[in-house]
Amino acid sequence: MAINENIKSNLNAACELTVRLNELVVLGNDETKEGDALREALHGVWIELPKQQRDLIQYLSADLDLLSGTETVVISKVAVPRKSSRKPGAVQPPNLRHRVNKAIELGHWKGVLDLIRLDPIIWTAAQRAFLRAEAYRRIGLPAAAVAFYRFALTLEPKEWAYRTGIIQSLMAGSDIRELEAEIANVTRDPEAPAGALIISAAALCRQFAATRGEERRAYAERVVDLTLLGLGKPLDIATREPRLRYRARFMAAIALAELGKLRDAVAQASEGIRECPEIPQLYIFRGVLNFQLGEQYVEDFAASVKFGTTDPVPYGIMASDSFRRRNFRECLELSKTGLSLDPRPEFKAMFLMFQAISQFELGGSSAGALRLFEASRELDPENKTIQRNFDIMKARATQERRQRFTDYLYTPDVVTSTLNKNREELMSGLPIEDFTESGRLAAMMA
């Protein structure tokens, strides 16, 4: 369900106020001026919401009754059709537990909430709280998620999934102090499992990405320490999933690179690739590091292309390499693919230049090639390589291709400048915020 930013902001405000009001109810302090002021503020944002989001808040309010021990069975419209969880030919409809598991599997979190309300008591209070916490977190209401995780934690204080859930929820918010306090709880506990440490590192990684200078370096050091500490522990239910392990390696590599430890960063990226060899971003990142170290880097970008990256940069680097080897057919194909990925103007200019030269060298008309060059120059008028190659191309066109291929200027400035640009821009595809393991919920609910 895509909703605009304004609705999202009102929805989160309504959620936070609902949770706060419920806290007063639990304490028996809601029939006060403060309680009435909260109700008024809540009504103010709630009334601005579309019906679907109003309902979500209303049902959240009902779900929160779990925390005061006053939960009632709520008959609501169930969003998950029975059919979707029924095997063909089955006579009996699957039970509620099965339907909830199916909804989890399908990522249908609103359906999970609706189904639990049908008969809440078939789950323990801690399970209900955990399921609701996970669902509200996925729906994008972190304040509600935190309230349910915290409640679950009061019932089962040793359950690490609740603590990591709180951290994951707080990652989505802006309360750094609360987040730091939770991370501190995890890191000072010698029994903290690998998954909790890595998820704490992921939360720090987000802070690291949002800061600069010394503060950033300090975050980078903590990310490295926590990640490596986590990876050094025995695998737990979270880290048994290779996708979490590769993300951990990726985080460590990014943080190590920030600290200038490029060779260590390459080693971590390589470990990540060993865990999950099909992730193109890891190859791109290692390629950038290898480029900075003066090592072979083209193979990494080639691998990212092989695994279907949608980042145009590797196509530019590959096209540049094909161009250097005078493989104009390959260069043409890579440039076309790169152009189809809607690159930034300077990259588009480079692809057009490669396309112009390749087409011409493969026997295309000079008029067509010159048109492509014109478009390229328009996009990046300051690029001297494009200007120089344009002149050579024109000369070759008039001299009927007598000039040698090697006269083209090979090194496109844009490739080297891109490789030197900020790392996190290249890393934008890193999904650090979603550290949830699909198997964990199922295992806990079994």
Partner: protein, 81 residues
């Protein structure tokens, strides 16, 4: 959010102050209709309506007319009642 908590069995998520109550007037369907000689109910949606004067009148008269309906109000029962 204003519906008192005591009504949670009939109003999902009710978290309002329990010092308030819900009152009922009449038994007819919730639709545009005459309440008495001076007032009518105008329903904007199937769940939201406004009691308004049937003819032009002073605010004080409108308030008196509303107060005149008080004797026909009955408190909506909740929970264990």
């Amino acid at each position: 959010m204003y519906v008192p908590k005591k009504y949670k069995a009939i109003a999902v998520g009710a978290k309002g102050n329990n010092s308030s109550s819900i009152w009922r007037h009449g038994d007819g369907p919730f639709e545009n209709s005459k309440i008495d000689d001076r007032l009518s109910l105008h329903c904007a949606t199937p769940v939201k309506g406004l009691v308004q004067p049937r003819t032009k009148m002073q605010i004080a008269d409108f308030q008196l007319a509303l107060a005149g309906t008080r004797q026909n109000w009955s408190e909506v029962p909740y929970g264990d009642q």
